[in-house]
Symmetry: C2
Subunit: 142 residues, 2 copies
DNA sequence: TCAATCTTGATGCAACTGCATCAATTTGCT
DNA sequence: AGCAAATTGATGCAGTTGCATCAAGATTGA
């Protein structure tokens, strides 16, 4: 089963990548928090919901888009809905299911988050990686 | 202050990198858990302690090695010490401080974690990245 | 048809994290 | 020396996550 054996380069690259993403992510969370905005996870959710448009999404669809566990999404949705950034409605075609849609307030907050997110990315991520390197990185991970 | 402006490549590369590391990390955690072993964070700690040798390390030194908050390390240490994988002793030269050392049991568990960690890395990380790409990635992030 | 199985989503409980703050030194300044 | 400031580490509380499990509706198949 080991088509691609694990090499020393893999291990070292993994360690670096983990370090970097943890670090950058932390910087982003800190920036969002000190701007009085919700955490990064909410941004991902609102982004998906906004992209989905007026038809909304079923939670299980969100689950596969975002890297998140079912029970975790369930509770995240509770919080986000409670905050007024999304709505949960019953699903006509499936009695078990729901349809989740972003609200105007949700769109507003998402849009407010992006400049902060972006600035943090610039300071924390772009500062360590030239544009050329970012392009290479993107190619590597595609 | 924006030496390196944030480009579209940066943003996309960031999204990919975050996705990848989250995904791989999750696979590793799952593998460790189903092997009845402690989480990844413990491995990092035990690795640092083992590297430090018999002199051990001060918590604040561990803090700067690992990406972890002070209060978080404090409690992680409590758990790891309670599990018998490390010891906390008073520090002679600094009455506030402690010295943390790995125990034999800690070394044993660390060594038991590595094959699982490694196998998960192989399946989850190496499977998506050739050795050449891993080497490129490492170079990019160095 | 209708019972077994699968899918969708929620929740009680325990563990973990973030935040604010505290206590006990140690260090630095005058 | 003596006191303010900084460093080191712990902890109460609230919020979040993981795990196991549950409930309710869909689907499959004899």
């Amino acid at each position: 089963m080991t088509d691609t054996p694990l090499t020393d380069s893999h291990v070292k690259a993994w360690a670096r990548a983990l370090r970097l993403t943890e670090d950058v992510r932390q910087d982003i969370e800190t920036a969002l928090k000190s701007a009085g905005l919700p955490p990064l996870l909410w941004y991902d959710l609102l982004l998906e919901l906004d992209r989905a448009g007026p038809n909304g999404l079923r939670p299980f669809q969100l689950q596969s888009e975002m890297l998140i566990r079912q029970y975790n999404l369930s509770r995240l949705l509770s919080r986000v809905v409670k905050a007024g950034y999304a709505t949960r409605e019953e699903c006509d075609s499936d009695g078990r299911g729901q349809i989740v849609r972003i609200t105007d307030a949700g769109r507003t907050v998402k849009d407010a988050m992006w400049p902060i997110y972006r600035a943090a990315l610039e300071k924390s991520f772009a500062a360590r990686l030239s544009e050329a390197d970012a392009a290479r990185l993107l190619r590597l991970l595609s």
